[in-house]
Amino acid sequence: MMRAASWAYLILAYGFIYLPVMTLVLFSFQGSGLPVPPFDGPSLQWYGEVLGDRDVTDALIHSLTVSLGSSAIAVALGFCAAYGLARFILPGSALIRGLLIAPITVSYLIVGLGLLIVLTNAGLALSLLTVAIGHVVINLPLAFAIIYASMGAQQQNAERAARDLGAGELQVVTLVTVPMVAPAIAAAFFLSVTLSWDEFIIAFLLSRFDITLPVEIWSMLSSGLSPRLNAVGSVVFLVSVAGVLILELLVLRRRRA
């Protein structure tokens, strides 16, 4: 009896989490023009239509560019900050660490509004670049925290050994430190990509003509419900799942081994 109850609870809990996503994906294969029951598919017509739509494919490419680019920058900056703070005794390093991590607590809306004011006052036109800047701002604290946590005495001793064997500072970082913390760097990068990929508020506030996929979905919503939206949403979901899978296979599994 208890066993059946716990299974029922498990199914309910997962249903609660995944039912919306499953519904979204299911009705992206809808045959008729409305994503509501009854289901009369499956049909790939909406995927065909969506992938043939220049606006959607452009937005898809913009999203990929922004998420990969901003994540690369966030991870590079996060690594430099983590290396500096973990290896050198700096005045006020506790304060610097705190200030680097603090933006995690600020809502995306506030970050977006703040950046909008600053960037427009600075005379920078809204574009994919400004969206990427916004995503670096939100992902840098995360990347820093993940990489900083992975830097311990073990790397420090290996770095010392490398210097002893004649390595210069750049060689120490590229040949010893980066490979040793590579799992953390990769984890930070993929997490950052996933967060940037489906981020809406900042992308909405800081873009104008070139927009990312979540913003494109938003503008599509204004013309009412359609299985096209489900198809686009499914693509977004698929890419996120792919990101998480890569993270799991490449990084987390290897760490366990």
Partner: protein
């Protein structure tokens, strides 16, 4: 490749703490030296100064006649074998050993040939493709040794290299380290707190305490004729007898022993347990009662109470076949050359 090392007047402070005071030390090229002392005596600090990881507060370090006091580790003719080995976990053993040569700009084929040769020297010739986590602790240590020797340093610094190994492996590695040192001829400076290890391995033992050098010399001399009371105690078990020195020698409760060249006044007479023998000897120390004893294979370690001084307890090593019943009455004696006398306020 080998070089001599000269430390002159080296002192080092960590904030207010004086870790090293006026260290003067000469190490000959090709010598195997151990820095021996209790935790916190400054031996590791001294090694870090030799390796260039610390700059001494004052004094100078010369290696092969060149002033190295302020030269970075990468630019010194020294390499260090670290206590935790500090291997690069993401590289094969091969690439670990070849790392220093790669930094020196040696081509891939050539440096891999040298790495193979060094791995073969430490008995790991066939494991070059493995990663450090795939081999045992003892093997990792050999890799660390091969890596440090691959760049052919003039001086190899070893920071408690055998500390993490079990006793049997430790003894085997001691012999091997010494054999490898003979083979390559490099000057080895080896930090340890284990006096048996120091004696097993070194040409010269440098005994340190509280940031100073207490004694330096060949193992037999340092053990048998230690320069200071601290060294005498640190090198092995020692019986202490309070004494008073005057013109006739050092007078203890067990009799008078020779004390040539020791200034008159209070002193401590020291005798090693194995130097106490039973029966008649050159120097009679009177009768004693055996209190208890334990069998150690090569000897019996016994606690004795001398009749002339019931408040004292002496430790003696009796032959393994001796009868060791508590209460046995023994006649103690010693050879004069096994007796050491230190003035009371000796450093």
């Amino acid at each position: 490749m080998t070089a001599d090392v000269t430390l002159s007047g080296v002192s080092h402070n960590f904030g207010d703490f004086r870790a090293l005071t006026g260290i003067d030390l000469q190490i000959a090229a090709g010598e195997y030296v151990t820095l021996l002392g209790p935790s916190g005596c400054g031996k590791t600090t001294l090694l870090s100064i030799l390796g260039g990881f610390l700059e001494p507060t004052s004094g100078a370090v010369h290696i092969g006649g060149r002033d190295m006091t302020r030269v970075a580790p990468a630019k010194r003719p020294t390499t260090t074998m670290f206590q935790d080995y500090a291997l690069f976990p993401h590289m094969s053993l091969h690439d670990n050993v070849a790392f220093g040569l790669r930094m020196a700009g040696m081509g891939k084929a050539q440096r891999h040939a040298v790495a193979d040769e060094k791995l073969a020297m430490v008995g790991l010739g066939t494991s070059g493709h493995k990663r450090p986590h795939e081999v045992s602790g003892g093997q990792r240590q050999r890799v660390a040794l091969a890596r440090a020797l691959a760049v052919e340093p003039d001086v190899l610094l070893l920071d408690e290299p055998l500390g993490a190994l079990d006793l049997k492996l430790r003894r085997a590695m001691q012999d091997e380290l010494k054999a490898i040192q003979r083979q390559v001829g490099t000057t080895f400076v080896h930090v340890t707190h284990d006096q048996e290890e120091a004696m097993a391995i070194a040409d010269c033992i440098v005994v340190m305490n509280a940031g100073r050098i207490e004694d330096a010399g060949p193992p037999a001399r340092v053990y048998r004729r230690p320069a200071t009371l601290f060294t005498a105690d640190f090198m092995g078990e020692m019986n202490h007898l309070p004494a008073k020195v005057d013109g006739s020698g050092a007078t203890t409760a067990l009799g008078t022993v020779p004390a040539d060249g020791i200034r008159p006044g209070a002193a401590t007479v020291c005798i090693r347990p194995e130097a106490l023998s039973t029966g008649a000897g050159t120097l009679d120390l009177g009768p004693a009662t055996l209190r208890d004893a334990a069998f150690f294979g090569t000897h019996i370690r016994a606690h004795l109470t001398p009749e002339a001084a019931p408040g004292l307890t002496l430790v003696a090593h009796l032959p393994p076949g001796a009868s060791a019943e508590p209460g046995t009455r023994l006649q103690l004696s010693a050879e004069p050359d096994a007796i050491l006398v230190y003035p009371e306020d000796s450093p």
